[in-house]
Symmetry: C2
Subunit: 333 residues, 2 copies
């Protein structure tokens, strides 16, 4: 287990989205985030107090969490200086990057010399089985998106919180580094060997009470050519009973893929549902979760109302307006 | 590079399909297969001469190739005895199993003591990029199937051979252990880390002459819940201009998944083509490849004729009747 609370390292994040790991921790475990550490040129800001290592140490922080991702997941030389100093100051390090802390000889040497821990939360520590497709008891909900980084994790976390507050049986099932840092366990799906992806999702969401919901964190998008295989493994390994469609209406192209337009929500529904029914013929699309952060309140409400009329499904922004409407839909099936 | 020729190890294969690695080598590089080694209980037979290690050595074999796969890819204790003896007799070992030769301390020790090589062809030896989705020059063809182990590799190899015989520019691109053992290179896709699957396929099929075809070996099936994520990465990373639909009409359920029915060829077309057009809007379904090994000749021909009438696409069994019809269709686009 990773020692809390954290100092959230934002490095030289090129934009706010790059700091989504830190943002997730701050939003869902604010009690664990004592402050943020930003380097020159950092374009992300969580609204937490900026702290240097000594100030964070004085405030009680135990672990420096790398809360920023750059394309390819590399630990840059600029970051390295801060990480080495953090170890020297008595922090553990935790990271979900592809480039592992344990692959950096200087970090390993300093961690050993100082007795500090290096946590690579994206490294699978289980030998996952090959998926067997056998129907499991209990219910599962999966958020699927028109694009990556569009609010799927938030949707599942918000619905899980709402369900628990209603006394429903629900477990958030993390499939990415942020979710794992938030909950303390899960499957780092994008680091799993291809043949075992669907099996790892089956492992993560085992037999359960008939009225228990696994709220599975989505990854990628069936329409994102870089990561669609990971999404496919969730759709089939997760055996979802319910799909939530996720969208960001102002995005002009698929994240990281200039020239690739986003699909419509109708495209997403018509693609994801038949694929999900291969593994679970009873699967239904139950609602729509829209990330409206780039819309004014009036525009967001109008957009959601039109979506509901056009698609005949409840639509909301769970971060902005709460997840109640989506949980109502889930409770009704 | 793996030293040839080979002695093909069939172990205690439970059925003929389990020996498809050896079958592929025998069919496509018969000059490299001096014989087969079968243990008690082996249910596979390639029609090659059965040889013990000494006889194979005398016949010139340099490498014992594990030509059999069991579910999970484990090296059993029964096999181990033969593998150790083979090293002692001067054979190298080559394997495409998940359970690596290099993970077995006894094999490593004997290989070191005897100066022999252990080739794990399924281990990626390249740091693949994340897919960028950028359109590449040249043309690509991908075989997709209603199920796994249905003839996708054979289809691509047969079409590649036919295209070369016509003077067309074609390269078979291996994505699995058999293909890699046959061609000497490729991407062991099912062993690639999830995030890099589509990128590895882009890497395997780079820019090329406008009239050059990459004949990409398919894997899994979009309808096979254990492996559909791997297939998805091929559909998007491969950017195919042409899809060949593959089917085996007598199979009663998805391989390894009792209770899962096979989709129809129409289902496969209607699922695969829209997904492929995300990465390449010009993609077309150009033909159907049917594995008719379980049908009599008359039945096979009648089945293919009906398929052609029903679906409006050329249909053949490239192993039985040649790949000419499929290559005609490819040459026409």
């Amino acid at each position: 287990m990773i020692e809390t609370p954290y100092l959230l390292f934002l490095g030289d994040a090129p934009d706010q989205l790059a700091a989504k790991v830190a943002q997730g921790i701050k939003d869902w475990r604010p009690e664990n985030a004592v402050g943020q550490y930003r380097m020159d040129g950092c374009k992300a800001d969580l609204g937490l107090q900026d702290m240097d290592l000594l100030a964070a140490k004085a405030a009680g922080a135990k672990t420096l969490v790398i809360g920023v991702a750059n394309r390819g997941g590399v630990i840059s030389p600029e970051w390295k200086k801060v990480l080495v100093m953090a170890l020297e100051e008595g922090f553990d390090l935790a990271s979900g990057l592809h480039n592992l802390l344990r692959e950096e000889p200087d970090l390993v040497a300093v961690a050993e010399a100082t007795g500090r821990a290096l946590h690579d939360v994206r490294v699978p520590e289980v030998e996952y089985p090959i998926a067997n497709g056998v129907k499991r008891t209990g219910k599962r909900c999966l958020a699927v998106g028109t694009d990556c980084s569009i609010g799927k994790m938030y949707t599942a976390l918000a619905m899980d919180a709402e369900m628990r507050s209603r006394g429903m049986k629900s477990t958030f099932r993390a499939t990415g580094q942020t979710g794992i840092l938030i909950t303390g366990d899960g499957v780092p799906l994008d680091a799993v060997i291809a043949d075992f992806m669907a099996g790892s999702v089956e492992w993560l969401t085992p037999d359960n009470d008939e009225d228990h919901w696994d709220m599975i964190e989505g990854q990628g998008s069936l329409f994102h050519v870089s990561f669609s295989g990971v999404t496919m493994a969730l759709v089939h390994g997760g055996q979802p009973d319910a799909l939530i469609l996720c969208h960001e209406p102002t995005r002009t192209h698929m994240r990281g893929l200039p020239g690739y337009a986003l699909p419509t929500l109708e495209d997403l529904r018509d693609t994801a549902l038949p694929l999900a029914r291969v593994a679970n013929p009873a699967c239904q699309v139950v609602g729509i979760s829209v990330n409206t952060q780039n819309l004014a309140d009036d525009d967001a409400r109008a957009y959601l109302a039109k979506l509901e009329a056009d698609m005949g499904l409840p639509a909301t922004d769970p971060f902005r307006y709460g997840a109640g409407k989506l949980v109502d839909a889930l409770a009704a099936i």
